[in-house]
């Protein structure tokens, strides 16, 4: 396992570097936006006097590089700092939001990943049949429609007409698991439909590509049933591309859900980062971006490790 440990070590180090670069870019990026937190918070009710008082009280009168240095030093000590807009601890601010985001992503993933794999396998098994076409048409339609449109259709059918699920994903810390699941049903379904196609089609394609190989033919000649050929002989060799696609979609479930959050009024990280960018609340923007960047880094690492682990040729290089 030594090579694996080495790869992971390298990747983690590179990941940290990525995170640092992201933090610099975001910090600089927010500086380029017009106005700062004082003007954005006070909006139309701003006067020169209140803006100056605001800036001074938040230390915004310091030069940019100093502010960045202070922020970085705090983060390295594990302190995300406090939100400029209301002085609350960012850790406290982010924790429930992050939990909500992860809960929604997990629910969507539990629905999407197994059905995508199963759908891909089945359409590979019954390729070029009516069933295969049906799956293709369904998944391609759902990915082609914008998410908000799918969301509105689901609301119209399942909420307004049938009254099964609420249109408002109203969750709070007091909600139990059942209540939470009920609340996130429609957003999770929307996300599922959005990510299904990519994974299903990749599963189908990877497996069909492998089916031309000689060892598949051998397996068939041994008299194995077709599903066994697929699951035992084709699928293990197809894992690498499938896992990569699955993991990229998982990352999307965490970082790409702003629109779904808006439509269903779900209090996740997306809403928080949009709010914070609008208010130029740099520490919060930074914290959220770091979480999003870390999600990508970690999930990519997972994908690579899984590809290697499932591939004996990479596990035991000569």
């Amino acid at each position: 396992m030594a090579p694996i440990a080495k790869i992971i070590g390298q990747r983690v180090a590179l990941g940290m570097l990525t995170l640092w670069i992201v933090s610099v870019i975001i910090f600089a990026g927010v500086q380029f936006l017009p106005g700062d937190i004082a003007t954005e918070m006070l909006g139309q009710s701003a006067t020169a006097e209140t803006i100056a008082a605001f800036r001074k009280s938040l230390g915004l009168d310091l030069p940019v590089h100093l502010r960045y240095a202070y922020w970085l030093a705090d983060v390295l000590r594990g302190d995300l700092g406090t939100a400029l807009s209301n002085g609350r601890d960012i850790g406290e601010l982010i924790r429930p939001r992050l939990f909500n985001t992860l809960f929604l992503a997990l629910t969507a993933a539990i629905m999407a990943v197994p059905s995508a794999l199963l759908g891909g396998l089945l359409s590979a098994l019954y390729r070029n049949t009516f069933f295969d076409r049906l799956i293709n048409v369904f998944t391609l339609s759902s990915i082609s429609l914008p998410e908000f449109f799918i969301a509105y259709i689901l609301i119209m059918v399942l909420s307004a007409k049938a009254g099964i699920f609420p249109s408002l994903a109203d969750v709070d810390s007091t909600a139990g698991l059942a209540g939470r699941l009920n609340a996130v049903a429609l957003p999770a379904l929307t996300l599922t439909l959005a990510v299904l196609a990519h994974m299903t089609r990749m599963t189908r394609t990877s497996i069909i590509n492998l089916l031309a190989n000689q060892y598949i033919e051998t397996a068939r000649l041994k008299g194995l049933p077709e599903w066994r050929v697929l699951v035992r002989h084709a699928l293990p060799n197809a894992w690498a591309p499938i896992v990569t696609v699955v993991v990229l979609n998982l990352a999307y479930l965490i970082t790409g859900v702003v629109i779904v959050e808006v439509v269903f009024v779900y209090p996740g990280l997306g809403q928080l980062i949009v709010d914070s960018v609008q208010k130029r609340d740099i520490p919060v923007v930074q914290a959220c971006s770091l979480i999003f960047a870390a999600t990508y880094v970690l999930l990519n690492l997972t994908a690579d490790v899984l590809s290697i682990v499932t591939n004996p040729r990479l596990m035991h290089p000569k």
Binding site: L42, S45, S85, S159, D172, V263, P267, S276, K279
Partner: protein, 529 residues
């Protein structure tokens, strides 16, 4: 000294509360009576307690806080009016009445105001309210380092002091006959004093006790058992949800997840009106949309150019298409039709290309080319409004180049800075307040940088005039000056349009702020379903 406050109400005025009380008593009479007002009231149930009221608000951000000085959106403003008591209130007819201040006296120069505090008012934490709390609450906005949005309101206060535990005296730098109206501002919540400082943690003396608040998401409150008003705050508890997306708000209301929503989508309101379970309420208020011209620089430093631009806009079309009729025509001055000093006899300015050309000619111009900065941040539909304006103005020889600015940062980069730009005012409840904050020569938010000597003279004179008839005359003249000389085109006043479930009962809605003056949780109740 003239006596104001509750005593100033004419005995015959039927208040909202007394109508309700008598409604049950005269119920039988009302059925046979032909009086329209009475039968309308009789249809409503008498207020009753109970229920959990859920409301969808169009604002609310993670950056909000409960410090009254920081209220900047309808979410926090609603919480202010629900959790806190205020010295004064404004009723459904736009008149000021005593709340925590039971009554008040004023000196002849309108500079010294003496407020008698109501006895037996209690804060949510059990502390009884006295003059010290009022001082701390007001001084919270007056501090040197104050970031409060109410600073312009309290700046003219020279001194505020207690005269015993039950009396607070305000001494103003200049006389202001409207002072009790200003104290109704949502920023000026009366909070308990803690070591001489205002406690801004959300403890108040209002009808509901804060239960939980998740900024930018939702907040909940429970009825305050010891609220000093026995005939208000009917719900057991209330919940306000921040739902920015208007479609999400409408869905939530249509599927019964909330009982009321503010700011309906006017483009689809005719569809919403078909829903028999909903009541659409469209309340004329103080909010208006405007286009400001920089009067300091050419071409707008010429009053005739300003008049040409004012005649080149088709107000009726904007009212019909932009607001779908949910508004009133504007007359280039900021006083709305619900204001008690609204000049009724001032002729309505119309779209008149000929007059526009006439004024252009008078200014020595054959045509006019101007750039209009706009973004939907200025008001919903501002970009469309600019396109309509462009079309109509072309007929009057005014060619407008529409410059679409980014929404983000609009108030920082465009507002007060560009020579010709779109904007809005939520408006203010009094004429003096509106003129002082937006049109006085030295006003920080004078959008057109407009200075008119006669106007500013009248503004100061009217402020301390205690005779309403004289004031009315002065304000009428000021509206006329503003209309003909001012630096803003004010084409329309926008109604506050909300939708309510039929389960909710209410009396006449106030127009000073949205959602019944932000007092919906206090004033509304569940009718028998």
């Amino acid at each position: 000294m003239s006596k104001w406050g509750e005593h100033s109400k004419p005995a015959l005025t039927v208040s909202r509360r007394s109508v309700l009380k008598s409604a049950a008593a005269v119920g039988a009479l009302a059925i046979t009576s032909s009086g329209a007002t009475l039968s309308v009231v009789a249809q409503e149930s008498a207020p009753k307690r109970g229920g959990h009221f859920k409301l969808g608000v169009a604002a609310g951000a993670t950056s909000d806080s409960l410090d009254p000085g920081t209220y900047t959106n309808s979410f926090t403003e609603l919480f202010g009016k629900t959790l806190h008591g205020y010295l004064t209130g404004i009723d459904a007819d736009g008149k000021v009445n005593g709340e925590i201040a039971e009554s008040w006296d004023v000196s002849k120069d309108a500079k010294t105001w003496i407020f008698k505090l109501r006895k037996g008012v209690e804060f949510h934490n059990g502390k009884s309210l006295d003059a010290k709390d009022v001082l701390a609450s007001i001084n919270h906005h007056r501090e040197e380092q104050s970031k409060s949005g109410a600073k312009p309101i309290v700046d003219p206060v020279d001194e505020v002091r207690a005269d015993g535990p039950g009396t607070v005296v305000f001494v103003l730098k200049d006389g202001n006959a409207d002072f009790p109206y200003l104290l109704e501002d949502f920023h000026l919540a009366i909070v308990p004093s803690k070591d001489g400082k205002a406690d801004v943690s959300g403890v108040g003396a209002g009808g509901y006790v804060l239960d939980n608040i998740d900024y930018g998401v939702k907040g909940t409150g429970k009825r305050f058992a010891n609220y000093w008003k026995s005939d208000a705050a009917w719900f057991d508890s209330f919940e306000a949800l921040a739902i920015h997306d208007v479609t999400a708000r409408t869905n939530a209301l249509a599927t019964g997840q909330i009982h009321a929503m503010e700011r309906c989508d006017l483009k689809t309101i005719h569809l919403l009106e078909r829903n028999k379970d909903l009541e659409i309420v469209s309340i004329a208020g103080t909010q208006f949309y405007c286009t400001a011209m920089d009067c300091k620089a050419a071409p707008f430093d010429n009053a005739d150019v300003r008049l040409a631009v004012k005649h080149a806009i088709n107000r009726q079309q904007l009212l019909d298409t932009l607001l779908h009729g949910h508004g009133k025509l504007g007359n280039d001055h900021p006083i709305g039709s619900t204001n008690r000093f609204f000049a009724k006899n001032l002729p309505q300015r119309e779209f008149d290309p000929e007059k526009a050309r006439f004024h252009l000619k008078k200014a020595g111009l054959s045509d006019l080319k101007i750039s209009l900065s706009t973004a939907d941040a200025a008001f919903p539909g501002a970009v469309d409004a600019a396109a309509i304006y462009q079309q109509d103005a072309a007929k009057a020889g005014v060619s407008i180049d529409v410059v679409r600015e980014p929404n983000d940062g609009y108030w920082d980069t465009v507002w007060l800075k560009k020579p010709f730009y779109m904007s809005y005012w939520l408006g203010r409840p009094t004429a003096d307040w509106m003129f002082s904050q937006g049109y006085a020569a030295d006003a920080a938010w004078n959008q057109g940088h407009w200075k008119n000597a006669r106007f500013n003279e009248l503004l100061v004179a009217a402020r301390s005039e205690l005779d309403d008839a004289k004031r009315s005359e002065m304000y009428a003249e000021m509206q006329s000056i503003c209309r003909d000389d001012g630096g803003e085109v004010i084409p329309v006043f926008a109604n506050n349009v909300s939708a309510l479930s039929r389960k909710i009962a209410h009396t006449k809605l106030a127009s000073n702020w949205d959602l019944d003056g932000f007092r919906c949780a206090e004033r509304w109740w569940f009718a028998d379903a």
